[in-house]
């Protein structure tokens, strides 16, 4: 079974870390990631840019593009895509197409990815390639 693990925290607190603190956390996390990677169990890893960079497409009779992150608590996170785009407009177009394919209620939050590590393919067991279709 594949699992996604979503990271939640206060971004203003994380934003108040010094760069040394930030680097220390990242290197501690890297040790855990490495453990998963060598057994072929680690998929893509992403660190998102702050929510201030987000826009949200709100589905409905007409698709609305709103500045800011998804902020409702009535709806739940059901899935995600990673898309490679020339810029925000192209990402919005992609989300718009998704919205047309799946109309009704809900929203897509579009957030740039600041750090992205695709599947680690050079693993001991080589299982990651099969598992993640790489």
């Amino acid at each position: 079974m594949l699992y996604a693990i979503f990271c939640y925290s206060c971004e203003d607190v994380v934003g108040a870390w010094t760069s040394a603190e930030d680097a220390a956390v990242m290197s501690r996390l890297a040790i855990v990631e490495q453990k998963l990677a060598v057994t072929g169990r680690l998929g893509p890893v992403a660190r998102l840019l702050p929510t201030t960079t987000a826009v949200t497409l709100r589905k409905g009779r007409e698709v609305l593009v709103i500045d800011g992150p998804f902020a409702e608590t009535r709806e739940q996170l059901l899935g995600f895509y990673v898309v490679d785009c020339d810029g925000l407009e192209q990402a919005i177009d992609a989300a718009r197409e998704l919205a047309m394919a799946n109309p009704g209620a809900g929203a897509y939050e579009i957030r740039p990815i600041g750090l992205y590590r695709p599947v680690a393919v050079r693993t001991v067991l080589g299982g990651a390639m099969k598992r993640f279709g790489a």
Binding site: V13, V14, A16, E21, T52, T53, D67
Partner: protein, 429 residues
Amino acid sequence: MSEMASMGGAGMDGAWIDAALTAARPQAVAALLRYFRDLDTAEEAFQDACLRALKAWPKNGPPRDPTAWLILVGRNAALDGVRKRSKSAPLPSEELISDLDDAEAALADRLDGEHYRDDVLRLLFICCHPDLPATQQVAVALRIVSGLSVRQIARAFLVSEAAMEQRITRAKARIGAGDVPFDTPGPLERAERLNAVAAMVYLIFNEGYSASGEAVQAKGSLCDEAIRLARLLLRLFQGEPEVMGLTALLLLQHARAPARFDAEGAVVLLEDQDRGLWNRRMITEGLALIDKAVRHRRPGPYLVQAAIAAEHARAERAQDTSWARIDLLYGDLEQLAPSPVVSLNRAVAVSKVAGPEAALAMIEPLAPRLSGYFHFFGLKGGLLLQLGRREEARAAFDQAIALANTAAEASHIRLHLDRLMTDGAAAEK
């Protein structure tokens, strides 16, 4: 428990608490100011809450919403103080004290509302008091909003701690004597406040960015502070393209910090900087914000300046820079916010696109208004040098040195002069 708090053997370490208190400060002090309508009381209440947090959080774990916790505890602590001073003051409601968890949740919900947004804006806005000179606005904002110690601020402004203490106390007295606007602002007034506050955040940034030599270390943190405040503003005013532009501008400029000075502390010009040292994460964030802001199709001065910085950030090598686009953007900026300094900057782009003669013709009319401006004579000297007018170039460089604000600026021009001298000596042989 947060991810951080549960990591490592140290449990919830001091660094996490420090970061949480720093992050909560503007919001918490702003809310306490609305409640007590007195800056000193609000600051003391927050201070009190922080002390209690330092004791309580390592024992009980961090609260779900640190800001709400600090506001509530700070308010109760200050009310306790008031109650001790005057027996007749009304008591805080019982359930607020006895059931902190529920109260915290309720307060956290309310914090997301408009009220809260105006609180933070008000706190920032009172620092922009028109009677206060720019440097004092910056000092007061750093003390009250960012919570920097007087010692840190004194170091950044290269004055003694006692002098800075006095300056801040006087400035705060001035703020206290004026009318602190506690009414909920209308849309127009809110926009005006936002403008003033954005300008002040930019001032804080510039105070850090213009530092050189010894002061870089002490002032560098001001740039980080300004970026933090800009992000905070943007979280509160998510649909404002100028706030996006301001944040992007600060990020894109600060991204170059690691490359702006060499090991000896001398200025490294943009075209000579090692672009591999630029902070990619800040650049990515800055570019993403511009992308967002552009969709609003009403560019303001911050956004245009950010777009100019973005042109530099996008160029992998200095020679890849699109000076034609930068020239156009400066043209926009001249329309939006005309100033001789903007025209002077545009002349740099013009010199790259149309040559030094065109640029020189462009800056000549600026001379009367920029006769006291270091960069005017620096650029003029450089253009004259390109045209082979050596004697005039030397005169311009001499004037630049006389007007230099920092040792780094002066020594940079001296390099040009030295080169003129050696080239001249070589030519005479």
